[in-house]
């Protein structure tokens, strides 16, 4: 295509942008090109792009131009986005998990002592994700429940067994402040 040499770079910007791209923004990128000419280029690029009848269209919205998927594909897209496994953990969950992995079997008060904050709700999240499991009770006052990591934890972190978990001493040189 490229009736104009700016057409493709502008379309590339529309693709990359998360918010609608305004003429003012384009003007900043191309200060040499008169505003009205720029408007003409974007409008023709939009018309050409939309004439291809693709999965994506350009619409003028919020004072700018935005590329977005056509509404008819939204259901498929939603299904796709749901297939993405939510293997993600919050920092709090990661910290709690780290304490459990290295100190297991460990009780909530013990985790709290190391983390310095209450870890109750993250314990629940980790149990739900089957990254940890209960391991009986500690024979101390209150008989608190002990927790340990699961087989699923090993799979999640690509470990064959727990002994593959790096020790702190081992990663000391790796973890010490970077020199370069």
């Amino acid at each position: 295509m490229s009736e104009n040499e700016l057409t493709n770079p502008i379309l590339a910007m529309l693709f990359v942008a998360t918010d609608p791209v305004t003429l003012a923004e384009l003007q900043e990128v191309y200060p040499e090109t008169p505003r009205e000419e720029l408007r003409g280029i974007v409008d023709r690029a939009t018309a050409y792009f939309n004439s291809l009848q693709m999965a994506v269209e350009i619409r003028q919205i919020g004072g700018g131009y935005r590329m977005s998927t056509r509404p008819e594909y939204h259901e498929d897209i939603r299904t796709y986005l749901q297939t993405k496994p939510s293997a993600k953990l919050s920092l709090a969950a990661l910290e709690t998990l780290a304490v459990i992995a290295y100190k297991q079997p460990v009780t909530i008060p013990e985790i709290m002592e190391i983390r310095g904050v209450n870890s109750g709700s993250t314990i629940r999240t980790l149990l739900e994700k089957r990254l940890i499991e209960t391991r009986g009770r500690r024979k101390v006052v209150g008989r608190p429940i002990m927790y340990g990591t699961t087989k699923n934890f090993e799979i999640h972190f690509g470990l064959n067994n727990l002994s593959e978990l790096p020790t702190l001493e081992e990663l000391e040189e790796v973890l010490s402040p970077a020199v370069d």
Binding site: T18, L89, E95, L97, E113, I114, R115, G116, N118, L165
Partner: protein
């Protein structure tokens, strides 16, 4: 791929990675990542075939170079010195009067061949690094789509790896160590004093969270005393402990009428 890379690199005006650009009289230590780099540089400068290197000659040049760095007050990294020691050792062996095909002679030849092998292997990886550099240059000029319109509001989430796990633990252990240091000069507390403190706090706030006592970096002694004090107050029906849900923080509530 190679041509594409070169095209983009030319177009971007990216200078190729090269450590051969330095003039003989300029010393740029950071040009040499390590002893193997320096050796290869010296061999290239001599325009000798890597297979024909003379250990005696290369040792002299290598040591000469380190000497020059020293004169320029440039700190020489340990890795360079280890290689220097090895080379000096081998060279001293060569200076010993020995029969032509003695064991020492064989040992020296073996070392020479081993060194050549190591240098050649090292060179391959330098080229692999160059290839990765070119590929990276191309990829850094390409943009995938940014955040998409369907993005869930899941801030602060990270997809964790073993490294994250170790780093998190390491960080906590460091923090914990600092906390312990603060406790060394701890004073003696009694259960009675703790009970008073809890009563005072409750009269001010009505309710307290159990975790409150653990978040302040108190010593183990303090925690044990606090715990006993809480049990004592419960027994006296001055307070009750409420947990709304499993794993939720325990709430300490006053049973005394507030006035």
């Amino acid at each position: 791929m190679q041509e594409v890379a070169n095209d983009v690199i030319n177009q971007l005006g990216v200078p190729p990675l090269s450590r051969e650009q330095n003039q003989a009289y300029t010393v740029q230590l950071d040009l040499f990542e390590g002893p193997l780099d320096l050796l290869i540089h010296l061999i290239r400068q001599q325009e000798i075939d890597i297979y024909d290197i003379s250990l005696a000659q290369i040792t002299d040049q290598y040591l000469g170079y380190l000497e020059m760095m020293k004169d320029l007050s440039i700190e020489v990294a340990g890795d360079f010195l280890v290689m220097a020691t090895t080379l000096i050792h081998i060279k001293s062996q060569m200076l010993l009067p020995a029969e032509p095909d003695s064991e020492i002679g064989q040992e020296i030849e073996e070392f020479r061949q081993e060194l050549v092998k190591q240098l050649l292997e090292h060179e391959k990886f330098k080229q692999a690094a160059q290839m990765l550099y070119e590929r990276e240059t191309v990829e850094l000029s390409v943009w995938p789509r940014g955040d998409n319109e369907f993005e869930e509001e899941e801030k602060e989430l990270i997809s964790a790896t073993v490294f994250d796990l170790v780093t998190a633990f390491h960080q906590m252990v460091e923090n914990y160590k600092e906390k312990i240091v603060l406790e060394i000069e701890g004073e003696v507390v009694t259960v009675q004093e703790k009970m008073e403190e809890i009563r005072r706090l409750l009269s001010l706030q009505g309710a307290l969270l159990f975790s409150f006592f653990f978040e302040r970096g108190l010593s183990r002694l303090h925690l044990v005393v606090t715990f006993i004090a809480l049990l004592e107050l419960t027994k006296l029906h001055e307070i009750k402990l409420v947990q709304k849900d499993l794993f939720e923080d325990i709430q300490i509530q006053s049973c005394l009428k507030m006035n």
